[in-house]
Symmetry: C2
Subunit: 237 residues, 2 copies
DNA sequence: CGCCCGAGAATCCTATAGGATCTATCCAAG
DNA sequence: CTTGGATAGATCCTATAGGATTCTCGGGCG
């Protein structure tokens, strides 16, 4: 009955191996520690995780869809190159389309949605406070900034999910990894915590007003400002 | 040097096995011959195509992304259930968002785009003629309707590609399979050839006008009409 | 000194084998 | 007649092996 003692398998637990491998590689990629172009050898990863190449191969196919890795037949997988300027512009446009449409669908906001939105906004603001406090001391805590990014994403996801359209959610998930990369490359220092929190507050107020056009406009304004700030960052400082 | 004679391998050529398997299964699914819920056994498919289960498995992971198949851990893959009414509504909304946004980005149309659009429109109209002619004789040719659907898709893709945004194209490809299913389930008889061709002509004229709002409005009108017609079809006849 | 090329190693890709799990059938008990 | 359980078969999942291709590096030639 018992083939091995539970909790002792080298790197990975015994259930749903493929998904576990996928998550491990995903978080490795999202951490941003790997240089673009780095080889992601099947056998190497399999050895590192103490599994066979087959589930690793499946996980890589799944990862291909996120755009974080590129595949060349018979040559293997590599970490995708960083986002070019034109890609960044297109990514912003796509996000703007998705989120403003979602806002229009979600408006007017239900009490449930408003509660979710306020809760997410509070978490985002709190995370922003911690980041700013650490920054004031000259420290840059990677786990804090990761937490801040997660709270930001969560806020935007509240609007998306309350649009009640699974295809929009699916599209957002597809873009998710790229958006994460964008944050890392274009906003390394997180210099816009205050502005972002304030603009999120504006979005909350717009939804609370009960209108339809106001939330859409507020979200559009926010995203345009984010784009503007990241462009300014791109050009230096 | 030579391990086997080229052109003799049972079902599949010798280069990029995984992709070939993917395409074969995809066209099988898009043909609509399989009942929803049908099991898609890895080993069975592997035997039928005369390959090993490994590339089949990879192809299935890739197919999962299209939404045409569903996977349950340790239970295998099945043909996805047909689109429910609410899914259909969400799909229409997502398409409307994508295509109207693409139209706004593509407008005003360049001469190149106008040429592509007119060419695609001509092919669509010609395919529509053939379908209508066959229908007048009481015949329903599956290959003709498939050709007609392809021409319709091509027309819409012209607008999408001239929006010059790879993420929009990517999203459209993600929805592509579902849209295809929608056509099959909600418009089995292709009863709206005339209307569709006429409305496409309206889209062409709107782009030719050189404006920005006109094409967006024309596309929105077209998609709203398609939705209306398929709903009417849904309710009976 | 630079360029080409060929042998070795590493890697990818596909095929096969075996353990684990699910499904279906059959039989017995209520 | 229905229901529960057990056994047999099929299927999925992971691991291992071997052929095919690509990368690397050292030697020879212009």
């Amino acid at each position: 009955m018992s083939a091995s003692t539970p909790g002792l398998r080298g790197g990975i637990e015994r259930r749903g191996l493929r998904d576990h491998v996928y998550e491990r590689i995903l978080e490795l990629l999202l951490s941003g520690g790997l240089e673009p172009g780095t080889r992601l050898g099947i056998d190497t990863i399999a050895r590192d995780l103490d599994v066979s190449p087959t589930p690793v191969r499946e996980a890589m196919v799944q990862l291909e869809r996120t755009g974080l890795v590129t595949r060349e037949a018979l040559k293997g997988y590599r970490v995708a190159p960083p986002l070019a300027a034109d890609q960044l512009a297109e990514l912003f446009d796509a996000r703007l389309m998705l989120e403003t449409t979602a806002a229009r669908m979600a408006a007017p906001a239900t009490p449930d949605m408003l509660a979710d939105l306020r809760s997410a906004h509070a978490r985002h603001a709190a995370a922003g406070e911690r980041v700013a406090a650490a920054l004031a001391q000259g420290r840059v805590d990677p786990s804090l900034t990761a937490e801040y990014f997660a709270a930001d994403t969560e806020f935007h996801d509240v609007v998306l999910h309350h649009a009640r359209n699974r295809y929009l959610v699916q599209m957002s998930e597809t873009l998710g990894a790229q958006v994460h990369r964008m944050r890392q490359t274009a906003l390394q220092g997180v210099p816009d915590v205050e502005e972002a929190v304030a603009e999120h507050g504006g979005v909350v107020d717009a939804f609370a007003s009960g209108g339809v056009d106001e939330p859409v406009a507020a979200l559009r304004r926010h995203l345009d400002n984010v784009r503007e700030r990241s462009l300014r960052f791109e050009r230096g400082a």
